[in-house]
Amino acid sequence: MSYGIGPYGVSGYGAKNDYAGGINQTSRLDNANTFYAGSVLAGAVALNQSQRFDGASQFYPATVTQGGALQSLTQSTRFDSANTLYLAAVSPGAIDINQSVRLDNGNQFYSSTITATGGLVQSTRFDNVGQFFAATVTTGVIAIQSPLVTNTSAFFAHTVSLISGPQSLAQSSRFDNSNTHYSATVSGAGGMTLTPEDISAVADAVWSHMIEGGFRADEMLRVMFSSLAGKREGFGTGTERYYDVSGTKPRVTFTPDSYGNGTPTVDGSL
């Protein structure tokens, strides 16, 4: 049953129920109590303060603004291209939230697939979400136990818990101030699993670290090794030489005085 809602109605204030109907091209459906199994199609600009949209099959190009105490989009299956879903609780059965621009301040999104979403700002839970593509998630997201979080631009100040099975945070670029990332595989820009290039760069930084006197760590190690275990020549003559591992390059060239004093010339280069 509905009050004042026609197929192309302009406004529907205070409507209670719409069973299995179409609400096409309707511009406003403010303060409606319940929509069961309805389709809200293009042109539904505002659904403000409506409390329940259980079992609705599609919301697209719609702006959904829920402000009442009882807020639910339970079992609704699609929210394609919705502009805003905020202060909403989307429970199991909400399968696709595709191309929605913003899902601000949502309380719970369970078992959903969220793709190409511009904003998930201040939403508190995204448990068991199937996929996040190209989403921006900012402060307030507490828990995500989703198998896929791909191409996401930013996760701020939240806890990410990826559940068992295929797990990926691939190509997600930022996880600033996040509390926990566990059981996650991250690849691509800004990921948590380091690339071979990352690891090689760390090793380069360690061994190129300047220790003293203009000598890098690897240069010092080469010189010390030659003195301790390298080929040695010139003992019994005026100049001693200690060589590299190949036995061809002098690492230390030392011309001591009769007491053994002197300043070695060292070469730690490759």
């Binding site: 996880f175 926990t180 990332h181 948590m192 699993t193 380091l194 690891i199 090689s200 760390v202 090793a203 360690v206 061994w207 690897d218 190690l221 080469r222 010390m224 090794f225 301790l228 275990a229 390298g230 080929k231 040695r232 020549e233 010139g234 003992f235 019994g236 590299d244 591992v245 190949s246 036995g247 490759l270």
Partner: protein, 78 residues
């Protein structure tokens, strides 16, 4: 960013398996340790041995001439 244990293991391996010249850095450390703190045998004979921490694996086998010159044979493997 929190590194995984696999990341940390990979970094450690990359640092210590870095080829400094013909040997890895960890191999060089083992050999130098043998010279400075390892069991030594053959001193005063024609061939000197400097052993690994286990006391039985020669890290350096050195046939030295009367003046102390020579080319050591080294073994830095784990």
């Amino acid at each position: 960013m929190t590194l995984t244990q696999a990341d940390i293991d990979a970094i450690v391996a990359a640092v210590w398996m870095r080829a400094i010249e013909a040997l890895q850095s960890d191999e060089m450390i083992r050999i130098m340790f043998a010279v400075m703190a390892g069991k030594r045998e053959g001193i005063g004979s024609a061939v000197e041995y400097y052993m690994a921490a286990d006391g039985v694996t020669p890290r350096i086998t050195f046939a030295v001439d009367a003046n102390g010159n020579g080319t050591p044979v080294v073994n830095g493997s784990a």
